[in-house]
């Protein structure tokens, strides 16, 4: 888009090679274009019909795509074979301004004004600082109102959502399935696995625990040995319970391999050794799954024997 006009060119004539269709058979191409667009029309009409009779997704898409295809082929054939291809040339003019124009622009910015020009630096500086603080003033509510601060403990009006460090597992909490059923000590067979929550918090994400039965042991049998960093005393009668939140990125570690006694996280394939405190043997998870101490009460109900001794889930800055 240039201002300096060259002298008007003499009109081109129709037999100019630059204006000729780019095909030896322009009539054929014209027919192709028209045929394609007619097929397009048919496609679109068919789409309306197919929609009306509520045919399947495939019919809707097929007819609509046919319509689009027809129009597309038609217009492309029209443009490529019938319209002038040239080649035509256009000059690139330097679009940067000339030196005097630049000088004039700069002079307007830096030189326009009397006394004020000398004071401008100071005034601009003050304005800039004020503007920066104004931006901050808007950012503060914009960001801070979004949500609560991460709390250290779970003492925010009973809401369980605000603590990264504690869960709702406490001593005596009943192990409950997601549909509210109390877990009894005889429920799982050896090699059985179950997702449990503390009573009253079924479905709560930080509280999800995976309960595994490793052996059929009675109350008077010696406990099932769990190697460190797990704790034998945290298990009971062959049961062992771990937080189901993967310590890598928080996916539920729901995949239990019974023969090899490993928990595998389905997201990024971290492998945890259930016999050894769910220590990660492979994969990106950095820490073992925290173990929940469990016990069986006098009526055979399974209960927690305390909370977790560390924060569950993935790592974060404040985690000690």
């Amino acid at each position: 888009m240039s201002d300096d006009k060259p002298s008007p060119l003499p009109p081109a004539t129709l037999d100019d090679p630059h204006l000729q269709p780019a095909t030896k058979h322009p009539q054929r191409m014209q027919n192709l274009a028209i045929l394609a667009m007619v097929i397009g029309m048919v496609g679109f009409v068919a789409f309306i019909v197919v929609y009306w009779i509520n045919a399947s997704n495939q019919w809707e898409a097929g007819t609509l795509a046919l319509g689009m295809l027809g129009l597309g082929v038609g217009t492309i054939a029209w443009g490529k074979y019938l319209m002038p291809q040239g080649p035509f040339v256009e000059e690139r003019h330097d679009f940067h301004s000339s030196e005097p124009e630049r000088a004039a622009f700069n002079a307007a910015i830096t030189g326009r004004g009397g006394l004020e020009v000398k004071r401008r630096g100071l005034l601009l500086g003050v304005f800039g600082v004020a503007g920066g603080i104004m931006t901050l003033a808007f950012l503060v509510p914009g960001i801070r109102s979004l949500g609560p601060k991460p709390a250290k403990s779970d003492d925010n009006q009973g809401s369980t959502d605000d603590s990264l460090f504690t869960t709702n597992w406490k001593k005596g909490a009943r192990l409950t399935t997601v549909d509210g059923r109390q877990v009894m000590v005889d429920d799982l067979e050896v090699g059985g696995v179950l997702t449990v929550f503390p009573r009253g918090y079924e479905g709560s994400s930080p509280d999800q625990v995976i309960l595994i039965r490793l052996a059929q042991l009675g109350p008077n049998d010696p406990p099932y040995p769990i190697a460190p960093p797990g704790k034998t005393s945290f298990g009971v009668q062959g049961y062992v319970a771990y937080s189901k939140l993967c310590t890598h990125l928080g996916c539920p570690v729901g995949l239990y391999q019974e023969r090899t006694q490993q928990l595998v996280c389905p997201c990024h394939q971290s492998i945890f050794n259930v016999n050894a405190g769910a220590i990660p043997e492979f994969g990106p998870a950095p820490r073992p799954l925290p173990q929940l101490p469990i016990t069986v009460d006098a009526t055979g109900q399974m209960r927690a024997n305390g909370g977790f001794d560390q924060a569950v889930g993935p790592g974060f800055w404040e985690r000690p």
């Binding site: 799982l188 019974e258 090899t260 490993q262 492979f282």
Partner: protein
């Protein structure tokens, strides 16, 4: 005709033809997609839309699983009365034990020993596992197994249904009353929504949400569920084959197991792929390939048609 001219004719035919061809292929695949037909007792329609006869059909593959449930009326004696759970367990007839022993001796004892008590490092002790466990392994063709160093895969079963039950009856007879029994599963009237929920919570972590199966640690893998029968589903739930956990009645009740079986065989094996070709049921991996190779690829062909070469 110059090379150039020939090429441009070829190009302006090739691109749209390729486009139409691919669309046609997809249409064919979409209309014929669906998992292989397994023998289900009922196929539950999963969508109640009034689509006018244009649902994708299913391909009738030769069922590789056994084609008859153990008929309760003919040969079996119901052990527990049929109840609302939809599953009842059978005692296999005593007449099965002797032929079962013969079959076992010929086909199984070389690894599992004459009394099915196993050989260290070769094959496990089958005593106490129950008829249902044996039925699962044999009816899915996993047993007899040639190569014990890799996980057994589902294959066409070596024995027919009666023979399988005979072998199972024999192994059960070695330790009567112990282990998983052979279930009779009635999927009619199952609660599909319940089965859906239970499957997602208990099974999807290994078998994937679409039942396609995936690789596990230590060279193991969770198999695809697309050929399982309701009986096999319940047997697997109860007996926990291989690396699969054991889900006893205290964890998954009979009703729940029946619902899961109905969901697997009724819904997962006949997925409502209303959207078109299922692309393997493995989610975004398949979509990525299709989107890039076919989507962007076709459009690049169109660019070739419209534009010049340098």
């Amino acid at each position: 005709m110059s090379t150039n001219h020939r090429r441009s004719i070829a190009a302006r035919i090739a691109a749209p033809a390729a486009l139409v061809g691919v669309v046609a292929v997809f249409g064919f695949v979409a209309f014929s997609s669906g998992s292989a037909q397994a023998d289900t007792t009922t196929t539950v329609p999963v969508t109640e839309s009034t689509v006018a006869g244009a649902q994708p059909g299913t391909v009738q593959a030769v069922p590789t699983a056994v084609t008859a449930e153990p008929s309760a009326s003919a040969t079996a004696k119901a052990d527990s009365a049929p109840n609302q759970s939809g599953i009842y367990y059978t005692d296999l007839p005593a007449a099965f034990i002797k032929p079962g022993q013969a079959l076992f001796a010929t086909n199984c004892s070389s690894c599992h020993g004459g009394e099915a008590n196993g050989k260290a490092g070769v094959a496990p002790n089958l005593q106490g596992l129950g008829a249902g466990t044996v039925d699962f392994w044999v009816s899915t063709g996993r047993m007899p197994l040639a190569n014990t160093s890799v996980q057994a895969i589902r294959k066409p079963p070596r024995f027919d249904r009666i023979q399988t039950l005979e072998i199972a009856a024999y192994v059960q007879s070695l330790t009567p009353g112990q282990g998983t029994q052979v279930p009779v599963v009635r999927t009619a009237g199952a609660d599909l929504e319940n089965g859906n929920t239970l499957f997602t919570l208990n099974c999807a972590a290994c078998h994937t949400i679409s039942g396609a199966g995936d690789a596990l640690a230590e060279g193991a893998y969770a198999p695809s569920l697309h050929l399982a029968t309701p009986t096999q589903v319940v047997e697997a739930i109860r007996s926990g084959p291989g690396n699969m956990p054991h889900f006893g009645p205290g964890n998954i009740t009979d009703t729940q197991a029946r619902d899961i079986a109905a969901y697997v065989t009724g819904v997962l094996q006949h997925p409502d792929n209303a959207g078109g070709a299922g692309l393997g049921g493995i989610g975004p991996v398949g979509e990525g390939f299709v989107g890039l190779l076919i989507g962007v690829g076709l459009l690049m062909l169109v660019c070739f048609w419209i534009g010049d070469r340098a």
